[in-house]
Symmetry: C2
Subunit: 161 residues, 2 copies
Amino acid sequence: MTDGPGGPRQGTNGEGAARGATVEDVVLSANTAFYNAFEAGDLDLMAAVWLPEPDPVCIHPGNAAIYGYAEMMRAWAMIFANTPYIQFFLTDVQVRVDEDVAYVTCTENVLSSGEGAPEEGFAGGKALATNVFRRTSSGWRLWIHHASPVLSSGGRQEEAP
Amino acid sequence: MTDGPGGPRQGTNGEGAARGATVEDVVLSANTAFYNAFEAGDLDLMAAVWLPEPDPVCIHPGNAAIYGYAEMMRAWAMIFANTPYIQFFLTDVQVRVDEDVAYVTCTENVLSSGEGAPEEGFAGGKALATNVFRRTSSGWRLWIHHASPVLSSGGRQEEAP
């Protein structure tokens, strides 16, 4: 993942933060680990990112929610199989921690090939993501990922209200 | 709010659940209280729904995130002023509780007048919502609301990936 200005520090599993790191830094490292696993298309890395239970939930832009660890990992395998290349550049990163739960919100600026991209080309897109993490004895684990479409024009989408 | 088949029980503030109610029932009552406050356009009810701190976050479909209790309440005042009528019919309601944190996901089937609706008429819309609650000494409070557009066709939206 490429960090934007003021973006989160690099980290591999949310537990490797430097000595003296704040809890927010550690949560941001867990957030980075999620996007690194996505970019790498690595199921083992992705499996380590998530809280196994109670049922995690994952919502990709414009798609229905996927509930439960096993179901979600099957979905990640499908996504990885259909995504030869993907890169995330995160902006507008915000983190808040409340004891053993934390959220990170960010704009995902995405460059990808595969489904939806021109043949042998790349497609760009934007999504707004909310990622909720739980603190466990083995580090912060992702429990909720909700990403939703952002209009490239930056304008308001039709909505209710 | 009109509950769909198998939808949550009615409740006013997330603390009025019947004796013998499960923790899931109580969380669903808090979720109902949020939509009741939205429908009523009542700032006092809405103020009581949310966790004041650390900064709650609220994302309306296709819009940027709003952080912090005071900022969010200003936004609700604007929304209520521009929404003469709104009704929610929730479907696909799922709830999971992990100690002092819980999420509810649901499809918001919305009927509204005001901005975006035909003059003196109504507009319908759908959104997919993730609502995250925290357990406090005075009941479950909403900390995160992320609602995103759903295509009326039920198909996939363009996304990356």
